[in-house]
Symmetry: C2
Subunit: 294 residues, 2 copies
């Protein structure tokens, strides 16, 4: 399957260290070489949130766009990145995650790994053909963008105006649960303020805060002491398909667990009654079984 990388922070944060390891999985330490994308939510001095995106159809370990992302220190509050191994959908830019849509005057970014079932994809296409794609329609031909548009059409059909966070999060979690019945569904969604992580199989997170220590990448010979580059109040959560460092305690999400982060901290947890944690090998096997690339 593809791989996901997310960040949610309470202060503008450069994701360069994590991205250095992550991009290597796009063709070097792993074979997700059908392009990559990254969405940065940045905050101005006045507190306004802006989004910028980078997409490339080249493997991320070779891409000049990934070089730029690595060498141009962009300090963001939220990040969603994705490296792609194409399964459903062709190789063009229109199929590169993260996908972005404007919702009630906010940019929402979405990235998925997994594979929806053929039956479920057909069901969503039938819904679209029957007038349920009033607000959003996919541009490319991935199952992932189809699912994102479905989710947002349901959202805007259900709420004429933006609901409060409690109702919004309950709705999103219920929808993610529903989608995970229709296939293998791991996803990250952010509006630049909150960051939702849903685990259908494999997803890990790590919250870095004081006292900061050293971190060593699993995919590259690189380490950093976060004590040297942070202040005492910084709080930064990194979310990823497979842990990026090999000397820190990553927390695994249970299958069908949903977490929501804000200001670097978990603010909402939805745990299934039966908690299952897949080993990385089992997660990869599961992805293979449903036709997702691993």
């Amino acid at each position: 399957m593809c791989q996901l990388l997310g960040m949610n922070a309470n202060t503008p944060t450069d994701i360069g260290f994590s991205f250095t390891g992550f991009r290597k999985r796009g063709g070097l330490t792993d074979h997700h070489e059908d392009g990559f994308g990254v969405a940065f939510f940045e905050r101005t001095a006045l507190g306004d949130i802006g989004l910028r995106q980078f997409h490339d159809d080249k493997p991320s370990h070779l891409s000049p766009v990934a070089d730029l992302v690595n060498h141009y220190p962009i300090e963001a509050m939220n990040v969603i990145a994705h490296i792609r191994k194409a399964t459903t959908g062709g190789h063009g830019l229109a199929n590169i995650h993260p996908f972005v849509r404007e919702v009630w005057g906010e940019q929402w970014a979405f990235a998925h790994n997994g594979q929806m079932s053929a039956d479920f994809i057909n069901r969503l296409h039938r819904l679209n053909a029957n007038g349920n794609a009033q607000y959003y329609q996919p541009v490319g031909d991935t199952d992932s963008e189809l699912v994102f548009c479905y989710l947002l059409n349901r959202l805007k059909s259900t709420f004429k105006h933006r609901p409060d966070d409690t109702r919004l999060f309950a709705f999103l979690i219920a929808q993610c649960r529903y989608l995970s019945v229709g296939g293998l569904f791991n996803c990250l969604i952010s509006n630049g303020d909150w960051h939702l992580a849903y685990a259908g199989s494999l997803l890990f997170y790590l919250t870095r805060k004081a006292p900061f220590g050293e971190a060593r990448l699993a995919d590259d010979d690189l380490s950093i002491n976060f004590k040297d580059v942070t202040s005492a109040t910084d709080c930064v959560t990194i979310i990823t398909t497979i842990p990026l460092t090999n000397n820190e305690q990553w927390q695994q999400l249970a299958v069908n667990e949903c977490l929501i982060f804000r200001q670097g901290r978990m603010v909402h947890q939805d745990l299934p009654s039966k908690k299952t944690y897949l080993s990385i090998d089992d997660g990869i096997t599961l992805a293979r079984q449903v036709g997702a690339s691993v």
Copy 2:
């Protein structure tokens, strides 16, 4: 005012030469230094259109993102670029053109130069507050994105499904005429296939086709002989606020003229009954009078 650069071609084309001159106006040969953005519509081997965007809040003549755009030869069918001198709206990324929204499963990019009147801006805000922002709402606080969302809300409210091109173009041209009554309104819009250019004051275009010759930039000591980099059937139109080369015959659009290009050629022209052509100096003076930055 800000400046616009557009391209529409019948073959994947690198806009690097034009962009080299254009980006210099973002802080070097001119003072549009509040960021820049560029949207590339690229075509896969199978004919699918994908969009990638680059935005930066740094002046384009200094921006590392603009360096990447210059040095990474992206071959596109359509391009919309914009360098910004902020007038309405703050300095953040959310206010950097081009703005993009998905319409009926197509990505549409839009860039504006000019300045809408305060009365007109208030009118659009009232419309939004009264439920006329069902499909699209601005993320930033520019008059430009407000106008783009207004246009798209009108479009989707008027047509439940995508109309044929004749009806679509007639609608867009009528809306641009209406918008130009509400302020100074030059714009470029593209869905990756067609490219619309509307002149409220200053806009020029140039169609390059065989026999190709030499072109010299106005803003840099650089020339190119297009004979060396093209094939006989290539046809490429460049659209810009102020001509980018000083040895070619640029065609000026009359005030309130609208042109639509496809495959590098003009396919639709809507000329006002009274044709007025502003000199560049008069265009700049007009922009100053309505509070647009020049």
